[in-house]
């Protein structure tokens, strides 16, 4: 039986979600092979964290998540047909510690709540309405359906859409509207690459 317990979801929400933008920046700097993108690695990293028997022994979730991500990248490179020794070397020696965001780079609890409030405001209606009724008023899907005059299936769809958009916004560090999100991604792409080049030169 597979699944994700409420406890584990909460642990991930507390320790991994807030550092996801930093994790993505770290992966972008790494220069992934062509057929692997950051989203793949992030999903796989969450898979590993979700499948673990226990997370109690993880002292430093940041370092842990970063090294899991790196291991995943290495595994893909080794498995691919065209192995560039250089690429493996680069990634093996890529310092996790240097990219490990220091605590002050991470939003505090209250900042995260503030960001969440702002992100919810950007959700389109009726998804936002359904999501608010679920999360704040704690109504069941059935009650929301009755309140909004839509089917339960539509409630589920709207909540799923809200979750997806929030993940895009808060996890990826982008904006909810697609265009702006692209730009943010590009910006993220450019900056880390420059840094990586500079580091290699030194």
């Amino acid at each position: 039986m597979r699944g994700v317990s409420d406890q584990r979801a909460l642990w991930l929400a507390r320790h991994i979600l807030p550092l996801e933008p930093a994790l993505r920046a770290f992966l972008m700097r790494m220069r992934l092979p062509q057929d692997l993108d950051v989203d793949d690695v992030v999903q796989e990293a969450y898979s590993k964290l979700a499948a673990m028997e226990s997370v109690d022994d993880i002292q430093n979730p940041r370092t842990y998540a970063f090294s899991i991500a790196r291991t995943i990248v290495l595994m893909h490179i080794r498995r691919s047909k065209v192995v560039s020794i250089r690429a493996v070397d680069d990634i093996e020696t890529y310092p996790v510690a240097a990219d490990d965001p220091s605590p002050e780079q991470q939003a505090s609890d209250r900042q995260q709540l503030h960001l969440l409030g702002l992100a919810v405001a950007e959700l389109p209606d009726p998804s936002r309405k359904a999501f608010q009724l679920r999360m704040i008023d704690e109504l069941s899907h059935k009650e929301i359906a009755a309140r909004m005059g839509i089917t339960e299936n539509a409630v589920q769809k709207n909540i799923a859409k809200s979750i997806g958009l929030l993940l895009k916004k808060l996890g990826r560090g982008g904006n909810i509207s697609a265009g702006a999100s692209m730009k943010a991604q590009q910006r993220q792409n450019e900056e880390p690459d420059d840094t990586a080049r500079d580091e290699r030169r030194n």
Binding site: R2, L12, P21, Q112, V120, I136, H141, L167
Partner: protein, 336 residues
């Protein structure tokens, strides 16, 4: 060969599954089907876990209260660096730990989402054990960090904000009426214009604010009305989770300056039990003071001592109380 599923497709399906589990109230209700979906591509479990994590995170929206209106919130606080304390949160309900979340006390926030760049303006200062550090701040104020302390400083046009993450610090605040100086220690906020005060936040203990000059307003998050107390010179405010509000008391001026002797690297005790004094020294040095008999820890001590010299302290205590002080590599034992 079938096309490999894209991560975006997986994310979309995962959000659907998380919403479905949310509607069904448990995974069990949808188990055989969920199981089958998860057994596909190895990324599915991760995407699903991530969506479930977002549900857990979003349940914190309750903290805004039932009348939360996102548009009003953005209109009022979206562009601001310091959301007002009215948006105090109610305690979060989690099985892991209880904590009060809130938007208030002037947390300095810039609402952009590109990477972590928005936090760039915050500067963090830390001291190691036994270290005391004077940090001059841009506005002419100064912060003196005591041993093993960390503070995060963030100044904006409207607000001077310092979060005392751990430990103790004295703040000598330069007057700037247009820009309040706010120190946040756990759920307690201290607001000053121009003044000198000490804030102590030690793990597992109450937050203590002692004012040397001028006055400050002390506010606890999570309490709506009447929670702000005006604390003036030679007064102390104690704020703890076990008391409903802020408890003020007066402190004689000479005692205030003795208590702030740590700034000069000294510890001052007045009829303080030895155990408590030993705990104080433990903040400054790796060398522990231990007692051969717990009863010795109840004896009291008075005097001014160098904070980084637990052995010297133990020797002078031994002399006055007729005890023996034996020094080991990382401890000193007081015995009869």
């Amino acid at each position: 060969m079938t096309q490999r599923e894209t991560s975006a497709e997986i994310d979309a399906a995962a959000a659907e599954w998380a919403a479905r589990v949310d509607g069904a109230q448990s995974e069990k209700a949808v188990q055989p089907e969920l199981d089958e979906w998860l057994s596909g591509d190895g990324r599915r479990l991760g995407a699903y876990a991530r969506a479930r994590a977002m549900f857990a995170h979003a349940s914190r929206l309750k903290a805004f209260g039932a009348d939360f209106d996102p548009d009003t919130y953005v209109a009022e606080y979206g562009a601001e660096d310091d959301p007002r304390p009215e948006f105090e949160a109610e305690p979060e309900k989690t099985p892991l730990r209880r904590r009060t979340f809130l938007i208030g006390g002037g947390a300095a926030i810039v609402a952009t989402f590109v990477g972590v760049s928005w936090q760039a303006a915050a500067e963090t200062y830390s001291t190691g054990r036994g270290e005391i550090r004077l940090v001059p701040l841009k506005d002419g104020s100064s912060m003196t960090l005591n041993t093993a302390s960390t503070a995060r400083v963030r100044f904006t046009e409207k607000l001077r904000h310092v979060e005392l993450v751990d430990g103790e610090a004295i703040f000598d605040v330069a007057v700037d009426h247009a820009r309040p100086f706010v120190v946040a220690a756990a759920d307690t906020n201290i607001r000053a214009v121009g003044t000198s005060f000490n804030v102590r936040r030690l793990a597992g203990q109450t937050v203590e604010v002692t004012v040397r000059q001028g006055s400050v307003d002390v506010h606890r998050d999570g309490i709506r009305n009447g929670s702000t107390r005006h604390i003036s010179a030679n007064m102390r405010a104690i704020s703890s989770a076990s008391t409903p509000g802020i408890v003020p008391s007066s402190v004689p001026p000479d005692k205030v300056s003795l208590e702030l002797a740590w700034r000069e690297g000294m510890l001052s005790f007045e009829d303080v039990p030895l155990q408590q004094a030993a705990d104080q020294f433990a903040r400054y040095s790796d060398k522990r003071i231990v007692f051969s008999d717990p009863a010795i820890g109840n004896e009291t001590v008075t005097g001014l001592f160098a904070a980084n010299d637990p052995v010297g302290f133990a020797r002078s205590v031994a002399l006055s109380l007729n005890l023996k002080a034996d020094t080991g590599a990382d401890y000193v034992v007081l015995a009869r």
